[in-house]
Amino acid sequence: MIAQEAQYRDWMLAALMGDAGAYRMLLGGLTRHLRSYYARRLDAAAAEDAVQETLIAIHTRRATYDPALPFTAWVYGIARYKLIDEYRRHKRRATVPLDEAADLFGHDDATDAIAKRDVTKLLDKLPPAKRQLVKDIKLDGVSVADAAARTGLSESAVKVTVHRAIKSLGDDLGERDADR
């Protein structure tokens, strides 16, 4: 059972009876999950469009929610449908992601921000030159060849530097966990 199920379902049932306050809380809560869900699967502009599309779909199709079934599964069904719709519209890929409702409700944009902050904090431990290389290659997707050209290092030197930097960060995390 998904943690938010009881709260969201209560809001939904109230909203179906016309309670605008509960509805606003519900849509606000769902938006945080939807943002994170689409941000992990679409580019930024498409993701916010998909969030709004899904909110509108939830609104116009709200009568199709059967109170005998889990509310989170209903929202997830719509979110996934709108994701596939988005893929289809841009003809980007025909395959359907193999995820499930827990994937939608396990994240929200607040936890995503924390994760991003954690990575940034961790990278700050590296000396600036190494930090830039790791950020370029591992986070921003710059190719090894481009990074080598930019820094004047050989490609193999770039690879070794990045590999060692990641390893040292990993060791660092491992020590911290062992201390606990």
Partner: protein, 212 residues
């Protein structure tokens, strides 16, 4: 528009949803569809001329009960297909019950002492039966698609197949009043084939016409 503004806008005017809203959409569309299918049967195919007499025959009731059971379970499938996150497997499994029943009855009739297996299986209209069932089903199929599009189907091929199955079964029920056959083996093969054909058409058209 900012997402926060959208939320404010959506929750601004929030009329309560009436109970049974989904059922009302489905039933009103399907009523129209079945009227259309009946019109096809009455005007194009014509009811069998000995209908009054046939209404007391075992064969007629075999057809009506079999197709009605398929229609009822098919309807349940359509209702589930219109709701995101609902389970469509259980209603699909239930469809096996009437099929099992007609197969059993067919075996009994085929194994009777004076049985003519060829006649029981092929009757006199085997060549056209499945296609005419599908033709009779088309108005109901269109109406069911129209209704489903107003709900929220999320797996369109599956939803289309469910709609086709329901419409095929309803079409077969209506077609029963035209069709002169009554042997269980005939019904088990040719009626079922007509239903399956309509389901296949629905499954093919679903991803094209059920998007919302």
């Amino acid at each position: 528009m900012q997402t926060d503004d959208l939320i404010a806008h959506l929750s601004n005017d929030l009329p309560p949803v009436r109970n049974g809203a989904v059922m009302r959409v489905l039933l009103s569309a399907i009523t129209l569809g079945v009227i259309g299918s009946t019109a096809v049967m009455v005007l194009v195919l014509h009811p069998r001329h000995d209908l009054a007499e046939a209404m007391t025959s075992f064969g007629m009731w075999t057809k009506l009960l079999y197709t009605f059971a398929l229609t009822a379970f098919g309807f349940w499938q359509v209702e589930r297909a219109g709701r995101p996150g609902a389970d469509m497997v259980r209603p699909a499994l239930l469809l096996a019950l009437p099929v099992l029943a007609i197969v059993l009855l067919s075996l009994i009739q085929m194994n009777a002492a004076d049985a003519d297996p060829r006649l029981l299986l092929m009757g006199h209209t085997a060549r056209t039966c499945a296609l005419l069932v599908t033709m009779t089903a088309l108005p109901t199929l269109a109406a069911t698609f129209w209704a489903l599009k107003r709900l929220a189907p999320t797996r369109l091929a599956l939803a289309g197949t469910g709609a086709g199955l329901f419409a095929g079964a309803a079409g077969a029920f209506v077609y029963s009043f035209h069709c002169p056959e009554g042997a269980a083996p005939f019904i088990a093969v040719w009626y079922s084939l007509g239903v399956a054909l309509t389901a296949a058409i629905g499954g093919f058209l679903g991803p094209r016409f059920l998007r919302w």
